[in-house]
């Protein structure tokens, strides 16, 4: 499956929800879509293109905006497809994929607590890796790491 096949199959369904389809190394292509049309795209990718297996959900903080990406695998095409959507850094929200792919559940929980992207209509959006009540999003670029000694010195000065 090539990027052209993807855009031919998805274009009519999504219309302006589909931003672009470009070549991406190691996969069938990279589909950029509008975050508002996420659920439609997921349904189309799963049902029409038979990418039944969602492998990975992740987020990237590009400082001015954030990106959510999905990787799905098709057993018929024996290929991955890479889906990505940009969400604004001020209101990082996107529809949850767990209604379409149940395997998205934990990946979205992790992305929520690490990159701070809220997945709407997620069945169980709570902390997965960090303890309950942890308020930071460690994988944001604004979150800096420190040597422990450095932190101790800082704590003493405070």
């Amino acid at each position: 499956m090539q990027p052209d096949d993807l855009s031919r199959a998805l274009g009519p369904k999504l219309g302006d929800g589909l931003l672009s389809v470009e070549a991406f190394p190691g996969t069938a292509g990279r589909v950029r879509f509008r975050a508002e049309r996420a659920l439609d795209l997921f349904r189309a990718v799963r049902d029409d293109l038979h990418f039944g297996h969602l492998s990975m959900v992740g987020g990237i903080d590009w400082v001015d905006h954030r990106e959510v990406f999905y990787v799905a695998w098709s057993d018929e095409a024996r290929q991955y497809v890479f889906l990505s959507a940009d969400v604004p850094a001020t209101a990082p929200r996107i529809e949850s994929a767990s209604a379409v792919w149940p395997s998205a559940n934990w990946h979205e929980r992790e992305t929520w607590e690490m990159v701070g992207i809220t997945f709407e209509n997620h069945p169980d959006l709570r902390h997965l890796l960090m303890p309950d009540g942890y308020v930071f999003n460690p994988l944001l670029r604004s979150f800096k790491l420190h040597e422990p000694e450095e932190l101790e010195v800082k704590a003493r000065h405070v």
């Binding site: 991406f24 190394p25 190691g26 297996h53 990237i60 149940p102 960090m130 790491l145």
Partner: protein, 381 residues
């Protein structure tokens, strides 16, 4: 007894790592489960953003500590793609050698832990004994038993020592002779079959829906192996079968893993033959200077040189002993990777715990979770 929640973990003999399985039970029956992860979350993805490309390899070994080579390979593949590099052919074969020996080592570790969960004590010792032979081989060319730091962006660190292939063939012969013994201890035992047949059933369609991969998926009859479907390194030039069983239960997972070890031995014999006859370089000679000369301390040169290197992204997927691992590396032209994201197979396999645990007995939790082969390091990262 009324219904109650019990915590199995973080310190519990069943967990084989640091996680907590909350189980709701009625008498001996499981009504609901809720895995609680994150007790070993070490922030590897975040630390990687502060490291040079070769320094991340150190973290990869510790990410999954029973399959360090597989994770090194995973990261290296995507980093090479992001940095537009190609390894020499001999390095690719060497990586396959590492991967397949690692698969045997990891499966032996799994065998030891899984069978001990069933109460069978001796095979734990047998599994560890034979795993040590594999680790001795690793030690002979990397210097470490578990944390190797052997692969490099653009190849591998060093070639094999003289006499390695004879030693490795001896180990393979020994292992070949041990597999029937393992089978006799497990499959030959009526109690083992009574306990493991029709246990922890997870059909192929549920596997796909919940993202379950690896031996668990293949035990449900689905022939999916990235080494065949999406060959990386030198796998397209090697001859092997994909191990499949169709029981979808714990016994089937056992059979799949045992068969995988046999196939790994088969692959390794081919790889050793190839390596004997094709000497050559093991590290790409046109490495950018900031990636370091072969024997220089890792990554120190990066500080000296202002980088001017094309941006790129790398995506790779590797058939790890536990299942399908993926890595996504974003290179923004800086000294460090901008973002590194890993997909752990065990992460997805555990997240489906409710599907294959509810409805069984409390005594069935250890064998079922044992058949999942949990490695908490890669789940929590």
């Amino acid at each position: 007894m009324s219904e109650m929640w019990i915590n199995m973990g973080p310190q519990h003999p069943m967990t084989h790592g640091l996680w907590n399985l909350r189980v709701k039970i009625d008498g001996e029956m499981i009504l609901d489960v809720d895995p609680e992860m994150g007790y070993l979350h070490r922030g590897i993805e975040k630390i990687s953003e502060d490291r040079h490309y070769n320094e991340v390899i150190t973290l990869m070994d510790r990410c999954c500590y029973v399959a360090g080579f597989a994770w090194e390979h995973l990261y290296i593949l995507s980093a090479e793609e992001a940095l537009h590099l190609r390894p020499p052919e001999r390095a690719e074969y060497l990586r396959v050698l590492c991967d397949e020996f690692q698969r045997i080592g990891s499966h032996l570790m799994w065998y030891a832990a899984f069978v001990q969960d069933l109460g069978l004590m001796s095979p734990f010792l047998y599994g560890m004994r034979d795993r040590d032979l594999v680790l001795d081989l690793f030690q002979s060319y990397t210097g470490a038993r578990m944390t190797y730091e052997y692969m490099r962006v653009g190849g591998v660190r060093n070639d094999l020592p003289p006499g390695f292939s004879d030693q490795a063939r001896k180990v393979l012969d020994w292992l070949d002779a041990r597999f029937p013994e393992y089978d006799q201890l497990c499959l030959g035992s009526t109690i083992f079959r009574e306990r493991c047949d029709n246990l922890g059933l997870l059909k192929a369609s549920d596997c796909v829906a919940h993202g379950v991969t690896g031996p668990m998926l293949r035990s449900a009859g689905m022939k999916r192996d990235l080494r065949k479907d999406r060959p990386y390194a030198a796998y397209d030039r090697l001859d092997f079968e994909v191990a499949v069983a169709d029981g979808a239960d714990v016994t089937a997972r056992y059979l799949v893993r045992m068969e995988e070890m046999r196939q790994s031995v088969r692959i390794l014999r081919q790889v050793l033959d190839w390596l004997d006859h094709h000497p050559g370089p093991v590290l790409a000679d046109r490495l950018p200077r900031w990636l370091g000369a072969p024997y220089a301390p890792i990554g120190n040169e990066g500080y000296l040189l202002k980088r001017n290197y094309p941006k790129g992204v790398g995506f790779s997927a590797v058939e790890e002993p536990h299942g399908e691992a993926q890595a996504y590396v974003v290179n923004d032209g800086g000294e460090h990777p901008y973002r590194v994201k890993f997909r752990s197979p065990v992460f997805a396999n555990i997240s489906a715990a409710r599907q294959y645990l509810v409805g069984y007995h409390v005594a069935d939790i250890p064998p079922i979770m044992g058949s999942v082969d949990v490695c908490v390091g890669e789940v929590d990262r």
